[in-house]
Symmetry: C2
Subunit: 125 residues, 2 copies
Amino acid sequence: MRILKELPLVPAERALKVLGGRWKVYVLYFLFDGPMRLSELRRQIPDVSQKVLVQQLREMEEHGIVHREVFAEVPPRVVYTATKLGLSLRPIVSALCAWGRRHAAELDVLDDGSPAASPRARKRA
Amino acid sequence: MRILKELPLVPAERALKVLGGRWKVYVLYFLFDGPMRLSELRRQIPDVSQKVLVQQLREMEEHGIVHREVFAEVPPRVVYTATKLGLSLRPIVSALCAWGRRHAAELDVLDDGSPAASPRARKRA
DNA sequence: GCGCATGGTTACCAACTGGTTACTACATCA
DNA sequence: TGATGTAGTAACCAGTTGGTAACCATGCGC
């Protein structure tokens, strides 16, 4: 569990590191509703490549928010579950989602149409 | 305001993008308590280089969570303030912080000492 | 005129992240 | 016999991020 040692010490930073993979909120979103197999996750999140999905799941597992269980069956079956710690992220993901929506709404208002919205025209504008 | 258009569509992802710079939570943390000059921020966050700090502040400004005000004085004075939208991140940063602390506590318990904590010894261990 | 402080910018780099493609191994299905 | 589905791994690549160091322009005090 080397990776854990490398997590930032400052709490908020650490949380952001844990959440901050390209596909992790998607994975969490689905795992909040129950366990899922790799192939199911792939179907639900078609844009992620298998390599990266596995990579993200490994990290989430090492960060203790996802549990991986292998069933030694005929076609190997691997089930991913959100741990208690993982489930405890649910309100945070919700809050982020709500804030993101608000952010989108407020900025689209400013952004839409009127170029007067720009408070401090930098030359790059 | 090109950058706004490129923000991810999924709200939580968008929020993470806005929060997800190496120093942004630090900046927010200090701006939550009131306006600050660049030099003050540099003093409070000694590990960040000026270039990167300015870079992060620019992004935060474009994302609408920070306001930049220039006073055309003898030594130029520039003051950064958290906008209303920026201040609305406060509870989220708090939540992330609390979760990060919990995460650190729970994992340190598992991690500390006993190598038996590892649920599924991967060869890399 | 020299160095300092302010608030930057520029050029250049190294590391990390995510992505593509191809490959493994096993067993069933047609 | 060969394609399909399962769950991966390995090699390689490109874009983004953060970081260093040097530089600019201004005005002050000495």
